[in-house]
C-alpha cells in the first residue's frame, strides 16, 4: 500500500513536468514514439534479398526500436507472394545494442529450438535478412550476433557460423 502511494505520487510529479522522470517498463512512456519508415529484407524471386519499406511506430531510442524492427521482419513480407524466410513459429525474444556497434538478436520458437532442417541457401537468406535489416535501419549497429533461446548458437540450421557477430554483406542483396 505504501509503495502504491509512492508510485502514484511519482506519476503525479512526472505528469507535472518534474525533471526526475520515473522509470517504467512501458517504452511508450519513456520514449517518444513516431511512425517512421523502416527497410526490411526478404528473399525475392532471384533468390537474393530484396528491400521492403514499411511504416512502423518506433520509439526514438534505438535500443527500444531494435526489437520492434526485428519483430516486423519476422512477421514476414506484406506481399503475400513472398514466402516467409524464417519458420512461422519463430519469435524475437530480445535484442540488445552495444555501444561498440554489436547488435544482439535473440531468436526462439519451436522449430529453431528443435533444430531447423533446411539447406545452406535458406539459412544464409534468413541470417542475412536479420543482419541487413538491423544494420540498414540502425547506423550505430555495425555487426549482428544472433542467439537462440538466450544461448550462443553454433548455427541456425547446421551451416552458417553464429559464434561471432556477422557483418552486413552485399553478396546476399539484389542490386
Amino acid at each position: 500500500m505504501r509503495r502504491a502511494v509512492v508510485l502514484s505520487l511519482a506519476i503525479l510529479i512526472a505528469a507535472g513536468g518534474c525533471k526526475k522522470k520515473p522509470l517504467s517498463a512501458n517504452l511508450n512512456a519513456e520514449n517518444k514514439v513516431a511512425v517512421r519508415p523502416v527497410t526490411l529484407f526478404f528473399e525475392g524471386p532471384e533468390m537474393l534479398l530484396v528491400r521492403e519499406t514499411r511504416n512502423v511506430a518506433l520509439p526514438e531510442n534505438p535500443a527500444g526500436a531494435l526489437s520492434v524492427v526485428a519483430r516486423e521482419l519476422i512477421k514476414g513480407s506484406s506481399n503475400a507472394g513472398v514466402p516467409p524466410i524464417f519458420p512461422r513459429d519463430t519469435v524475437v525474444r530480445a535484442t540488445f545494442l552495444l555501444p561498440d556497434g554489436t547488435a544482439f538478436v535473440d531468436l526462439g520458437g519451436n522449430t529453431l529450438t528443435q533444430g531447423w532442417g533446411t539447406g545452406s541457401h535458406e539459412e544464409l537468406m534468413a541470417i542475412y535478412s536479420v543482419v541487413q535489416t538491423v544494420t540498414t535501419n540502425f547506423p550505430d549497429a555495425k555487426r549482428v550476433r544472433i542467439l537462440i533461446n538466450d544461448e550462443p548458437a553454433e548455427t541456425l540450421a547446421g551451416h552458417v557460423n553464429l559464434s561471432r557477430a556477422l557483418l552486413p554483406s552485399a553478396t546476399y542483396v539484389a542490386r
Partner: protein, 523 residues
C-alpha cells in the same frame, strides 16, 4: 470552483508532504537485505534481495562503489565502468559486453525500478572491464572483489569415440595455458592457472581411455594400453582442449601448437582426402517434398564418392561419418586435421523457399564476417612483437586457430572452382557458381576446404534425381574428376609432377568467383 481548486491544492500539498516522508525506492535497511561489498579500499554495505530462492544484488550500488554507473537503457539497463559497457535486462539471463556474453544463473530483476542482478554478473563484467573478479560468500554475506588472477576456470570433461579415435574434450570457462606431459600409460594436462575440477576421478567405458583423475590443476588421462597415442589441439568458443587418442604411432603431444605444427612434415602432394557427408542422426538437414532427407542423400553419395576417389586417385579417403550419426561441426574439421588431410570436402543438398530453384553451388570460407577477430588478431600480433607480451602471444595462437582456414583460402577457392566447373558439366544442372560464406564446418580446417551443394532437395525434380543411381554416379564422376584436376594442378605448381602438354590440360582457373566478394567494411 474555488472549493475544487482548494481541494486540489490541499491534495497536492499533502502529496508533497507524503513524498517528503516517503522512503526512497530501495528495500528497507533490514539486515537481511544488506551484505558487505569488500574491495581493496575497504568494506561497504550494499543492498541485496531474495526472490524464489535466488539472491540478487543492487547493481547500481555495487558498480557505483567501484567507480562506475548503471542507467536505464531502452527496455534494459546499461552498466559502465572504465569505458566498458555491459547491457542486461530482466528478460534474459545473459548480459552482453564486448561482443561476449555474461552468463547468470537467472535473469536480473527490478525492484522499485532498480536493477538487481545475480553476483555472477559482476564476475563476468569486472573481468572484462577492470581485470577484477567477484566471489560471493553466502555464509558471511560478503561480495568480494579481487584481482582476476585468482579466478579458477571451471572445467567439464567429455569422452567420446569417433571412428576408433577417442576424443577427450576439456571445456573451460576461460582460456588457460597448459602443458601436456606424456607418462607411461597416461597423459597429464597440467594447467598453469587454477581450475575447478568437476570431479576427483571418473572411469570411462572407452576403448582408449580408462579413467580421468583431477589432482590440483592437473588432469591425468589413464590409457587402456601403452600404445595409445595422442594428438592435441585447442578450439575456441568455448575454449576447449582436445586430445585425440588412438592406438598406433602419432604426433607426440606437446604444448599448445602453433598453426602449422599441427601438420607433420610429410611428402608434398595430395595423399589424404576427408569427405564430409552433411548432417546425420537427429540433424536431418533439409527434407524434400517427397520425404528424402538430406542426411541420407549425402551419406549415400559420399560413400560412393569415397570409393571412386580411392580407386582413381589411389589416395587415402576418410569419411567424417559412415553411418547415420550426429557428428558436431567442429569435430568434422578436427577429424580432417587429425588425419592431416590434404583436402576437405563437405557435401550437402540445398534448400530454398523459392519454387523451381535448381543447380549446384560450391562454397569456400568467407572470413569477412569476423572483422573484429581479424582486428584483434592483428592487435595481438603487434603486441606479441613487443618484449612484454607473453599473454598476447598465447591469445594470438587461439585467434589463429579460428583463422586457420584463412591461410588456405586461395587453394580452397581453386578447389571450389574445379568442383563447380565439373558439376556444371552434368547435363541439366544449372550453375549457381562459386560463392563464399561463413560456414562453420570449414572454419579451422588446416587444408584447402570446400562445401558443395549438389542440388536443391526442395525441388521435386531434383529430389527425384538425387535418389537415382544415374545422377549419383554422374555427381561422383564430376567431383572425382574435379579433385583429380585440382590434385594434378596443385602438384604441378609445387613441382612434384611435370606439367602435362598444354593441349590435354585444363588448368584450374585462377581465383575468381561468380559472385561479388563480400566487403570487410560495415554500413
Amino acid at each position: 470552483m474555488n472549493r475544487s481548486l482548494s481541494l486540489l491544492a490541499i491534495a497536492f500539498a499533502s502529496s508533497l508532504l507524503l513524498l517528503a516522508q516517503a522512503p526512497t525506492p530501495t528495500p528497507s535497511p533490514n539486515p537481511a537485505n544488506l551484505a558487505t561489498l569488500r574491495t581493496a579500499s575497504g568494506d561497504k554495505q550494499i543492498t541485496i534481495a531474495h526472490q524464489n530462492g535466488n539472491t540478487y544484488f543492487a547493481a547500481d550500488e555495487v558498480i557505483a562503489a567501484l567507480g562506475g554507473s548503471v542507467t536505464k537503457d531502452g527496455n534494459g539497463f546499461k552498466a559502465a565502468l572504465n569505458n566498458t559497457v555491459a547491457a542486461f535486462g530482466t528478460d534474459s539471463r545473459f548480459g552482453v559486453v564486448k561482443d561476449d556474453l555474461i552468463e547468470m544463473p537467472v535473469a536480473p530483476v527490478t525492484i522499485d525500478n532498480r536493477p538487481f542482478v545475480p553476483w555472477q554478473f559482476f564476475q563476468g563484467f569486472l573481468v572484462r572491464a577492470s581485470g577484477l573478479d567477484a566471489t560471493w560468500d553466502a555464509a558471511g554475506k560478503i561480495l568480494q572483489v579481487h584481482p582476476a588472477q585468482t579466478t579458477a576456470a571451471g572445467v567439464t570433461v567429455s569422452v567420446a569415440n569417433v571412428q576408433g579415435i577417442s576424443k577427450v574434450v576439456l571445456t573451460l570457462t576461460a582460456p588457460a595455458d597448459y602443458n601436456i606431459v606424456k607418462e607411461p600409460g597416461a597423459y597429464t594436462i597440467r594447467f598453469k592457472t587454477a581450475i575447478r575440477a568437476p570431479y576427483a576421478e571418473q572411469a570411462h567405458d572407452d576403448p582408449n581411455v580408462a579413467k580421468t583423475t583431477f589432482t590440483g590443476n592437473d588432469l591425468r588421462i589413464q590409457l587402456t594400453a601403452p600404445d595409445v597415442v595422442a594428438d592435441a589441439y585447442r578450439l575456441e568458443n568455448p575454449f576447449r582442449v582436445v586430445l585425440d587418442l588412438r592406438k598406433g604411432a602419432a604426433v607426440a603431444p606437446g604444448t599448445p601448437q602453433p598453426l602449422n605444427s599441427t601438420r607433420p612434415v610429410e611428402a608434398p602432394g595430395i595423399h589424404t582426402i576427408v569427405i564430409d557427408p552433411g548432417h546425420g542422426g537427429k540433424e536431418v538437414g533439409a527434407i524434400g517434398p517427397g520425404g528424402l532427407m538430406e542426411k541420407d542423400a549425402t551419406l549415400a553419395l559420399c560413400q560412393k564418392l569415397a570409393a571412386a576417389l580411392e580407386a582413381r586417385l589411389k589416395t587415402r579417403v576418410v569419411l567424417t561419418r559412415n553411418d547415420d550419426t550426429v557428428v558436431p561441426l567442429d569435430q568434422r574439421t578436427a577429424i580432417a586435421n587429425q588425419y592431416h588431410a590434404d583436402l576437405f570436402l563437405s557435401v550437402h543438398m540445398n534448400a530454398v523457399i523459392v519454387k523451381g530453384a535448381h543447380g549446384a553451388e560450391t562454397y569456400f570460407l568467407s572470413l569477412d564476417a569476423s572483422d573484429k577477430l581479424a582486428e584483434k588478431a592483428a592487435e595481438l600480433e603487434n603486441a606479441s612483437k613487443s618484449a612484454a607480451a607473453p599473454a598476447a602471444s598465447s591469445d594470438l595462437k587461439l585467434m589463429l586457430w579460428d583463422l586457420a582456414q584463412q591461410e588456405y583460402l586461395n587453394e580452397s577457392s581453386r578447389l571450389a572452382q574445379a568442383v563447380q566447373e565439373e558439376m556444371n558439366r552434368i547435363t541439366g544442372i544449372q550453375s549457381r557458381g562459386v560463392k563464399q560464406a561463413p560456414f562453420k564446418v570449414l572454419i579451422g580446417a588446416t587444408m584447402p576446404a570446400a562445401l558443395v551443394e549438389v542440388a536443391f532437395i526442395t525441388n521435386p525434380e531434383e529430389e527425384s534425381k538425387i535418389k537415382s543411381d544415374a545422377f549419383q554416379k554422374s555427381v561422383v564422376d564430376a567431383i572425382t574428376t574435379a579433385v583429380e584436376r585440382y590434385k594434378t594442378d596443385y602438384e604441378t605448381r609445387i613441382g612434384i609432377v611435370q606439367p602435362p602438354p598444354p593441349a590435354t590440360t585444363a588448368p584450374t582457373a585462377p581465383v575468381t568467383t561468380t559472385t561479388k566478394p563480400a566487403t570487410r567494411t560495415g554500413t
